[in-house]
Amino acid sequence: MSANEMKSASRDTAKVMNRSDLTRRLVAKLNQEEAVIGGIGNTHFDLWASGQRPQNFYMLGSMGLAAPIAFGVAMAQPERQVFALEGDGSLLMQLGALGTIAAANQKNLAIIVFDNGVYQITGSQPTLTSYGTDLVAVAKGTGLAQSTWAADEAHFEQLVDRALKEDGPWFIATRTDDKPPAGVTERDAAKIRGRFMQGLGVTK
């Protein structure tokens, strides 16, 4: 699909969708053992709830590091497509990481941000995106040229399809609602790491 067939949206016109639903739509498209790194906040809870693929990594504690971890995975295994899932609050804490990924031009990497405008897990205090920070504009400004707001669910799926087929790095931003996550991740960090390494074929 060419770029001009794609819809476009701004933060104001993008449909407010559901994080759990979008996560399930993403995961449903993964049939090549793609890696998915879920960031802190409710992001990794919904990744967990979407089915515990061995190629999922649930990042429990370090705000903003889903994208850097995904970037490390992508560099180590350039044949594997890698997705980082981040909340807006987390991403705002580590905006430099977007520039690092843009500078490296990491082709097998896509960052998906769930912008609910709040730090939902700590009591829904508003983040800077509620006051006008546009994460797609930020991403473009760091050099991530392929950065887009998903207009609606169908557009989100088109963007994921493109990320699976064409060279990245991709930055896909979504507006999401205030619904709670669909599950809760089991918090055993060493087990999460061990399973992930098996899922990536690094250990038996």
Binding site: A35, I37, F57, M59, L60, G61, S62, G64, L65, A67, P68, I69, A70, F71, G72, V73, A74, M75, A76, Q77, R80, Q94, G96, A97, G99, T100, A104, A189, A190, I192, R193, F196, M197, L200, G201, V202
Partner: protein
């Protein structure tokens, strides 16, 4: 090499030895936030095709990158100065330690032994207490003749025990103007 020749060869610089030991241990991914003392090492690493060298915006980011790379089968290291290390307790305590990541750190020790920069001096005092509290193996290298042994053994132990390791470069090693 004959003994006579060896005697005439100047001793290898610490940074050249580090490059060699990293290669011998297949540590290919280098991440760093710059430091003046590390500059000659960084220059050598950039010049060598064996290494992939990334300079992210923050040391925390570097820890994330090296962690991801390790889990996907690529060995890496984070190079930083003491001020950079002082930004890391959260990521060490929430990611590297609980996930049992053999995260290699090489820290140039600034602020010690007469360093006149106030910020560096006070920040430096936080490093060893943090490392000790988190139970992270650390060792300061003070002499060129120890570089190969300490760097090599600390890397091997980190991977064998699935634990982070902090290799500290003392000004006794890196300050060439000291004598």
């Amino acid at each position: 090499m004959s003994v006579a020749n060896a005697a005439r060869t100047p001793p290898e610089a610490w940074d050249a030895i580090v490059v060699q030991v990293l290669k011998e241990n297949q540590v290919k991914l280098i991440t760093y936030v710059p430091d003046k003392v590390l500059a000659p090492l960084i220059k050598r690493l950039h010049a060598d095709d064996y290494f992939t060298v990334i300079c992210p915006a923050r040391e925390e980011e570097a820890v994330g990158i090296v962690t991801g790379a390790y889990m996907a089968g690529l060995r890496g290291i984070v190079l930083m100065q003491t001020s950079g290390f002082a930004t890391l307790p959260n990521v060490l305590a929430s990611l590297a330690v609980p996930c049992q990541i053999p995260l290699l750190m090489m820290i140039s020790e600034r602020g010690a032994l007469g360093d006149f920069q106030l910020g560096q001096a006070i920040v430096c005092r936080t490093m060893r207490p943090v490392l000790a509290t988190l139970g992270i193996e650390h060792y300061a290298i003070t002499r060129t003749e120890d570089v190969e042994f300490i760097v090599d053994r600390m890397i091997k132990q980190a991977f064998a025990t699935q634990a982070p390791a902090a290799i500290i470069l003392s000004p006794l090693l890196t300050n060439t103007k000291k004598k």
